[in-house]
């Protein structure tokens, strides 16, 4: 039961919550595809507080709320308005909760959404906190896998690229550790999955890691690719050599299983070549679209329509 609950960390949703979210997401997807107008959150207000820039997450939250008949209030730039005046997050939240029914927050510091949920009597949804959690992204990632394969158990998943700074892969790996899956972590040495994530993994999951992408590629069902940021490298030559090794083009796809899918939290830069977009294996735009039914499901369940 998610009614009135905050979703800060993927640990806040139980396994049964996840299956309920997925079946409600299926219904939302049907409604979207049928072009049906929904009114279930009529009169409800969602406040978005984004202390960090975002395109997809924010648009998709706002669109989801509108699709359900609710409305949205937001501060275009909380950072310069409230932070500059020295207001604490706790105070901003106390104010925002009195103006809205649910608060969506993105913040550069880890634990910010947990703090917000402590000061708010209204439910809080974490839209990303620093290099911490991003639970709604994780839910839509899981939903995408389930959509393509019918189930998550039994999948063999490769996570590729920047596994150190990318919070989506942290949340996703933690969530996957409650499923019966095999995960291979593929990244350059300096961008490995942090130990503080690996030490929290459940017992069921089998995790191995390696540096080389180009081997036994036909073993995986899912390639979850992340962006390798130039800024992470002090040596630009090193960046150039790494980016080549981890990028995916039509040839790379040719070495994959026929029905393997490629996911990416977006934005992608050079790690997936545009030619891949037209192959049936490219799942990343569909994945981004699934953010809508999943967030609609969450909002409707939390606000109890």
């Amino acid at each position: 039961m998610l009614k009135n609950k905050s979703i800060v960390s993927i640990d806040d949703v139980s396994e049964s919550d996840i299956s309920e979210i997925f079946s409600v997401s299926d219904r939302m997807l049907n409604a979207l595809e049928a072009g049906k107008k929904l009114e279930m959150l009529n009169g409800k207000i969602m406040a978005t507080l984004f202390y960090e820039p975002s395109t997809r997450t924010r648009l998709s939250f706002e669109s989801s709320m509108h699709r359900l008949g609710g409305s949205v209030i937001s501060v275009s730039d909380v950072k310069s308005s409230s932070v500059a005046k020295g207001e604490t997050l706790a105070d901003t939240i106390r104010m925002a909760e009195s103006y809205s029914d649910v608060i969506v927050i993105r913040h550069p510091l880890e634990g910010a959404a947990r703090l917000a949920s402590k000061f708010s009597t209204k439910p809080v949804i974490n839209a990303g906190d620093g290099s911490g959690q991003h639970p709604t992204q994780t839910l839509l990632d899981l939903y995408t896998m389930r959509k393509y394969f019918g189930k998550i158990d039994g999948l063999r998943i490769a996570m590729v690229g920047d596994l150190r700074y990318g919070r989506t892969v942290h949340s996703l790996l933690l969530a996957l550790s409650n499923f019966d899956v095999e995960v291979t972590l593929i990244s350059p040495q300096i961008l490995k999955m942090p130990e503080h994530i690996r030490e929290r993994l459940g017992k069921n999951i089998k995790v191995t890691s390696r540096e080389n992408l180009d081997e036994k590629m036909d073993e995986f069902d899912v390639f979850y690719v992340t962006r390798i940021q130039k800024e992470r490298f002090t040596d630009q030559n090193e960046y150039n050599s790494v980016i080549g090794l981890y990028s995916i083009d039509a040839d790379t796809v040719g070495k994959m299983k026929k029905n393997a899918i490629i996911m990416h939290p977006l934005p992608r830069v050079d790690e997936i070549k545009p030619e891949v977009d037209y192959l049936p294996n490219a799942a990343y735009f569909k994945q981004a679209f699934y953010g809508i039914p999943v967030r609609m499901a969450l909002l409707s369940m939390i606000l109890g329509a």
Partner: protein, 153 residues
């Protein structure tokens, strides 16, 4: 056997024995007894102990400290023995145990954690494992190792 008491007997109060040598002041500050005007506290530091080699002992006069408060010192003094003294006699004796959550004593070692900026909250950790000690920050969810914990105590 202790033949003499380095610190004189108290009539009523609480004795905290078997505090690791040198940690008495930290214990006093965790218990926040230093500012209480009605309480006299005597501290013996680095006295001989059969169990610990050297130890600290704290005697708090006219105050019966309660178990929940005393459990807060278990991070610093895991082997502490508590004696409640009434009319010069030990009325009750117990040990401290690690609390489920540790509030306000430690600082989260994660620089990117919200508890390390100016916000009106205490740090808060739950115990993931006792041996070896592993704590988890309630806010950023990062684990804190025994080494990191000890470096702050």
């Amino acid at each position: 056997m202790e033949t003499t008491l380095k610190v004189s007997k108290i009539k009523d109060g609480t004795v905290i024995d078997h505090v690791p040598a040198g940690k008495a002041l930290r214990v006093v500050s965790i218990l926040k007894i230093e500012n209480n005007p009605d309480v006299s506290t005597t501290i013996a530091m680095r006295v001989q102990s059969e169990k610990l080699g050297k130890k600290d002992v704290i005697k708090v006069e006219n105050k019966y400290l309660n178990r929940d408060d005393l459990d807060r010192i278990s991070l610093v003094a895991p082997d502490a023995t508590i004696s409640i003294v009434s009319n010069y006699q030990i009325k009750e004796k117990f040990t401290v145990k690690l609390t489920k959550t540790i509030v306000g004593i430690l600082k989260c070692p994660n620089q990117g954690c919200i508890t390390n900026v100016k916000e009106p909250v205490n740090s808060e950790f739950s115990v993931v494992s006792e041996r070896p000690l592993i704590l988890r920050c309630f806010y950023c969810e990062r684990n804190m190792t025994e080494k990191e914990v000890l470096s702050q105590l």
